[in-house]
């Protein structure tokens, strides 16, 4: 018997009901109910018979949900009521005991924490697989020269392997962030009751152990008010999505006719409804486009929590859809990044030609002067002058005559300059730790592999 005398308004049910999305939580709801029932029996709050009835019913519920034969009822407001309703149908009076020493508040928080933990673990796996592809592609293109860009202007040549490995480090940081998320999910909310704790000396450690939590939340009010772990997950996902958007943007750019650095596989592109020649990098564009979506989910959950008095407020029901869509989006994006990268064909000639642009040797020419004792700023100024002359006359640097060089760049050995412009010395001279010299890139390949194995 409810204290209410009116049935819910259909519009109320529509805005209030969460079953349409929170049914995804069923595996966690079943798992925690199982652990809870076992614990209740272990402290004598329910009898062994009731426990067995509950566990049996939960087994049935699990099979039904897994197989899709679970029949949701009109009154099932959310997955928690649905599961308990069905358990009671099966277990009879024992079913009514499942909610002893538990509230929907700590129950929901527990389900969500379990979900987030799994989502973070899945992200780690997918990132690992992506990093492996990055490593493989970096290795097979370890010595392909291409221009490095700043401000989208050709700046200095690098090896494609070096460029690709930059992403490996980003994704390794993402992995570490998701590891921290898993830690953030480590304190069991269950046992906090509605907000104040429960009238039983429950064995929360037992439940925690069974469900894989490393501790129990130490304050019942915080336990039901807290969604930090969800924010942590969304923040980690937002940064990962932002990284992926940079990769997507580069693949779009490199696939353009103007760059021509790579061609995405047919399997990862689409045609045009009216332009048969088109090969559109749709997946790369979507990689780019998904970051604002994930960032918006993060901002939205912050907005939901903003100014909320403790403890549980219905507002917090809004956590779920942001989490679910983020997990789906991230999974799809990581898979797409991996697939595209794995199958992309890079164009060695186009990249090499662009990297051979003499202008991008300017800093190295300046360093020639520095080597002969000229302060860097002076050397920089001298070379800028040479560049200006060459650009103004539409000539390359190596087309300047010795006389011109001697006149405009006193102290610069024309011979040394010509040698420098001829070889791949520009790349191989970047011998500093983390630099693009081949020996350094090979070092990096080892370092990335180690980091992946450890993290």
């Amino acid at each position: 018997m409810s204290r209410f005398s009116q049935p819910p308004h259909p519009d109320f049910e529509a805005i209030n009901a969460s079953l349409a999305f929170d049914r995804r939580l069923w595996p966690y709801d079943v798992a925690q109910s199982r652990a809870h029932a076992g614990m209740l029996a272990s402290i004598g709050a329910i009898g062994a018979e009731d426990r067995d009835a509950l566990l049996g019913a939960l087994d049935t519920v699990e099979s039904e949900l897994r197989e899709g034969s679970f029949a949701f009822a009109p009154g099932d407001e959310d997955i928690h009521t649905a599961v308990e309703r069905r358990v009671t149908e099966i277990a009879g009076r024992s079913g009514g005991m499942l909610h002893t020493a538990r509230s929907r508040n700590d129950q929901v928080a527990t389900d969500v924490a379990l979900y987030v933990r799994d989502a973070a673990a899945a992200a780690r796996l997918a990132l690992g697989a992506l990093i492996e592809v990055v490593i493989a592609r970096a290795e097979s293109h370890v010595d392909w020269p291409m221009p490095g860009y700043t401000h989208l202007q050709r700046a200095q040549p690098v090896y494609l392997g070096h460029h690709l490995l930059a992403y490996a480090w980003m994704f390794l940081r993402d992995r570490a962030r998701f590891a921290a998320v898993i830690d953030a999910c480590g304190a069991l909310p269950l046992g906090a009751g509605a907000l104040a704790g429960v009238n039983y000396a429950t064995d929360r450690e037992r439940v925690a152990g069974e469900l894989g939590f490393s501790s129990v939340s130490p304050n019942s009010i915080d336990a039901v008010s807290n969604r930090d772990f969800a924010l942590d997950y969304l923040a980690a996902a937002a940064t990962a999505a932002t990284h992926l958007s940079r990769l997507g943007a580069e693949l779009v750019l490199w696939s353009s006719d103007e760059f021509g650095f790579c061609e995405l596989a047919d399997a990862w592109t689409s045609g045009s409804s009216i332009m048969p020649q088109k090969k559109n990098p749709d997946a790369a564009e979507l990689l780019r486009a998904k970051a604002p979506r994930v960032v918006a989910h993060l901002a939205a959950l912050h907005g939901v929590m903003h100014g909320l008095p403790l403890t549980y407020n219905k507002d917090m029901q809004e956590d779920k859809e942001h989490l679910f869509d983020t997990a789906d989006t991230l999974a799809l994006s990581l898979a797409a990044a991996r697939g595209m990268l794995e199958s992309a064909a890079f164009n060695r000639e186009r990249m090499a030609a662009a990297a051979a642009d003499e202008m991008i040797a300017a800093v190295d020419i300046a360093d020639l002067l520095v080597g002969s004792g000229v302060p860097f700023r002076e050397a920089h100024g001298t070379v800028a002058g040479l560049v200006r002359i060459a650009v103004a006359q539409g000539r390359t640097l190596s087309q300047l005559s010795d006389m011109e060089l001697v006149e405009h760049a006193p102290g610069l050995d024309p011979q040394a300059l010509r040698e420098l412009l001829r070889g791949s010395g520009w790349l191989e001279s970047k011998v500093s730790q983390g630099g693009t010299a081949l020996v350094r890139v090979r070092e990096q390949l080892d370092a990335v592999r180690t980091a992946l194995a450890q993290g």
Copy 2:
């Protein structure tokens, strides 16, 4: 025959496919195809027979989609290809003519513009219905005193009718904003082709007229690059949602035991899973919680468009889900606001008691002094002194003796003070335009009705 030799990767299909959400656009896709076919025939680009075959097929497609019997095929990437594929199944070779002088780029932009126009119109209707409820409740509570708050501190008494009407003005501005959105959807994109226009002197005015557009977009590149109308819609929705969040927050507050100003109907509240005495204002909380979600959709679409080179990029496919969820959220929120407000029971006594707090007459006491020639700042200081004495001694202002009044507030007529504190004069003296005096509130009721009828 495609230029591609590889089939799409399943992960590519998963990230690329939009059918799962863009199928909502079908009524617009069918309508524009109908108008397009008619126009093509009118300029002689296709024959009358082909047109009739197309129109017939579109009728069938429409019925199938309406009735749910439309069979989507595995290759249907989006609603546009699905409709055209089915049209071709039905109309045979004529079906292949539907895409003459049209591209998916202008087609999508047109569908989305039509959708947004409808969504804005629906929001206007729902806002109108909500405003009517606000007016009705304001009228029936026109003279119920309650405290007005600033900083959540009781500040000055107002009538509940006056307070409620504040929302009517907010919602009227929302309605005006959605009217502007409808205007922003007024230029027909169709006919822009992929981006450059088409190889036919199409009759775009005819199509515009048939589909209810007031003009045709004047630049084909802008036509397919532009999503301003979607941003306008999301911005209008965000402001409306923010308004609703304020209403929700007030209903939550007023429903608390501490305020006790109103009781929401059973039909708009829920109970607790473990606390049988609870009557939770879930719908009001959700009203509050939905604003960050809608604002996030707005920010996300800005993010998608950020830095996008012209013209169409696949990123723009991300416009749809943000729009659809916003429209659904807003519809639900407006219905919930209306339903809750309509059925809420206000507590006259609790509000009156709070409004009778003498302290909130302070500004009126200061004005008594101003009336006798004291500059406002001085008067303010004098009354602040009286308040301090009363607060320090735990007395009300009317408990101060004449002697004390004369001593601490020279120039203040004790008699006038006592009179002021006795009556409802505090409210009725707010005679300025827009003020809370009853005559002004009644004026407002008329003004709101007029504004609603006109806007």
Copy 3:
């Protein structure tokens, strides 16, 4: 005498004080004080002598603030108290009368509305100047072919003039949006008092008229609770900034060595600290980077207003910095866009060469077939086959022999194909309204001019 017995904590003053930023409001604060004093005298609430003393003092305050000689005092919490404090120093006892029938709540709302109105008007002016530059550059490059892109893939050739005009239409919509903002600022808040109206039959219409408002806000509670006009302004600015980010992104792209479509003027680029050959499009990059900042301001103000009970809450003090930084950012961005565009040198040859890519004629070839009665879908398939053959063999379409053409594209007249590929027919055939055919672009130039003159 205050009711408080403790002085404010320094950290309280630090978080509470707004003078550091709201001093920008001084011209509005002085103007409204002037209008308010005049009105008070007109209804007899203060004497003519007091009014004159107030107006005289306000003149002095205005000069001091304009000339930078105004001395702020330690106790000046905000610009409103600073102005009133100084007025009282100058006008003596009359100064204390300025705040009669006014509260800081309606005063602030009025200042902010005046500020937003001016900021919107300034944005309109700057947009107008930018549009004029767009028109001029479009006119002088009206017939320069370049590739139009979808998915950053070359799609169809267009004229640069046509492409540039796409931005004119975006900016015209922005102008219209700011016009709506000005309207949204049209209702005078002043006279609402703290929240309930005031104890005087003030003449709000008089004040409104003097300050340029078109009406008075009809509900005193809404008047002090409302910041819709600020949200409207931020939303308009966000869309404008997003447009500018697209322009910035294109300028960055076009300035790359790979595209080489334009060279920004030295005056709008910067060099590198170590790479003397670099010419970096910094301003274009910043144009791109500023959109998220403005969008964030919009989202933040929504966040501030989220769930706020009526009426005024201190939270609303957060409106100002978001507004001010947006106005500054937008002004700078619009000036930069104009300056860069005005001085950019386009490279006719590079663009023409890219536009001559035969592949982008594919849709036109398909339309040749359509002209001979082949349904568009079939024609599309046939041409896709030709493209595939050419791509596979590394040949252009015109390098295919007649025999090959006849074999793979039965029904396609080789002669017509060769003719089509030779001329600029691809562009000139886009004769549909809004298309890129020259006659259409010239039409557009007229239309843009008319729209600018009218809007």
Copy 4:
């Protein structure tokens, strides 16, 4: 000599210059220059004399900047050029050597990493101080009953100490998050050069050690492209600000006349310009209002990085203002939270009276029934019925007669019920780990202290 022939446009300088804000980075710029000069000498890239000249000049620059006597020059685009310019004025030709083997790209990244590290450390300190206040107030109010709320409805009584400690756990998590930020700042970017590494076998470990970095960034491209640590900091700050907004919201609520649970100190509140009785919780409101601002900074930086091709792009200059304002806002908010909490006076009677509301014992009554073997769901239903009767008749539960109890709640011992309603048993029965029973709260106090000491 520059390669440029035109001076920068004033509007370009305005949008490009960062000196107005990045001058805050000077301590880091000086420190890294010092370490860099030392390292250059150690590897023989510059002579000992030049090094000494540089170090001497850097000392002077540091003093000038610290004392405010540093004269910025018109051409100083940013703090880096200003410092180097001044070093060169002082050190002459040696000054030109400072930029050897360094680029502005790795230089900026290093400064920002150092800044973020310090900001995170400062946040940790301030959080620690705040947690200590929370502990102190929790301890002194450890056994003051108050209602715990869900949905802002009174739900179950708790002790104020328990409620306050919920915040301690939130802030401890924030501290941990900032510790992770410090780790994220641990890889030295310096030595990456513009993007490719440098032409010297620099000793990056030495520089890292001197500046307190734990490692060197392993990929030069990533080193200059990466702003993850800034995102991590903003994310940690956003969550902390969201926590603070909840505290602010509760203080506002509790300070209302209706709740009356606490009175903020005069030093942390302000009066009204026209309502002398007002005591406004401005600082608490601002605490609430600052969260959207910080979240917006986070979202904005994500927006800036969105879709950015590697490596450095000018867009990234936008990182600084978001960081700086966040650090300032957070520092102010943490100080305000601490000050307010430290000086707030709680009202024992008002809280106790609210906590004595019999209705909130309902779950405990249900547990009485559960104790006698009734399944929880049945017990819940029975008590709901009692509540309904009491509410309908305007009576409390203890006003129901034994007969009524027996009739409507068979199985419930009236005696036990009356006993339960009499004492503070409701609180003390919450004996589960983390519950509100006093012994548990005391446990928590110890646990918080330990966690603070360790973290």
